[in-house]
Symmetry: C2
Subunit: 143 residues, 2 copies
DNA sequence: TAGAAACAATTTGCATGCTAATTATAATTT
DNA sequence: AAATTATAATTAGCATGCAAATTGTTTCTA
């Protein structure tokens, strides 16, 4: 196996997200939806622009994901304070339940990824990952 | 920022691949093409199934990527030894030149990601990343 | 060796992902 | 206040990504 950073990043991301997709399909979620539920659990009532930034995808992509989630009754989109330009997004009860299920799925996926790796090693890995994250991130994009 | 593994993995992957896309667009490559060139530089003459596995994507996706790369003269697809089922893929001269350019782009991207991180820290990060890679990978998929 | 099974690639249909252009609304400027 | 500018969301067009079905070829097996 190629041990370069870019290759392993691609491989880990691909396999991890495939694992998450497989599990989330069992609770009737498509690829783009888990990250949105995860974000809304922490930031319920955000506008679409901020959800997109938090999920690291374009607002144009977010439109489609959210409209399918609204159709399925996972979220609601509302105007607020007479502002008709911004749309505030809220989890429904069903959406909150599904988001909680996703937390378990993410957690089990993480356990699988770090299987056989000590807490200390995991800890310092995550610290470096955080530094990389900051290096690659314009602070305003992820707020 | 959310410091969970799954969140940071998503963020790093998104920002890193966006950086690579931006640079590779300058040498007229689309999203899926850099990883194929990178793979072929190490495994020229592979069949499509193996390239797909090496790039961690489905063979069905590979079909389209390769056909666009063939149209642009980056690769050639040939039959071999009277076997009309498998297609062996080779870099053209143009493809090889572009692949070499991509190596530079990947390398500069990696430098940006690890900016301010010591060689020792980077080394142990990559070791853990490799373990995670193995944990998530069925050996036969990536050979 | 004929039929069955396996295999490599493609096609189809859908859901992301992007950029660029558009629409509608809000805020600023003059 | 009217015109300009900025902003949030959507739409359109393309390239991935997937799963499932199909096609053509090869291998196995009875």
């Amino acid at each position: 196996m190629d041990k370069s950073f870019h290759y392993m990043l691609m491989a880990v991301q691909a396999h991890f997200s495939r694992m998450i997709m497989e599990e989330s399909a069992k609770v009737s979620l498509t690829t783009g939806q888990p990250k949105v539920l995860d974000y809304l659990l922490l930031h319920n009532g955000s506008i679409q622009k901020d959800i997109a930034a938090g999920c690291c995808i374009d607002v144009a992509t977010m439109t489609g994901i959210l409209s399918r989630m609204e159709d399925k009754g996972l979220i609601e989109r509302k105007n607020k304070n007479g502002n008709r330009r911004s749309l505030y997004v809220y989890l429904t009860e069903k959406g909150e339940k599904t988001a909680e299920q996703m937390k378990g799925i993410f957690s089990r996926g993480e356990d699988a990824a770090f299987s056989g790796i000590s807490d200390e090693e995991k800890e310092s890995f995550l610290e470096t990952l955080y530094k990389i994250c900051e290096n690659l991130t314009d602070t305003e994009v992820l707020q």
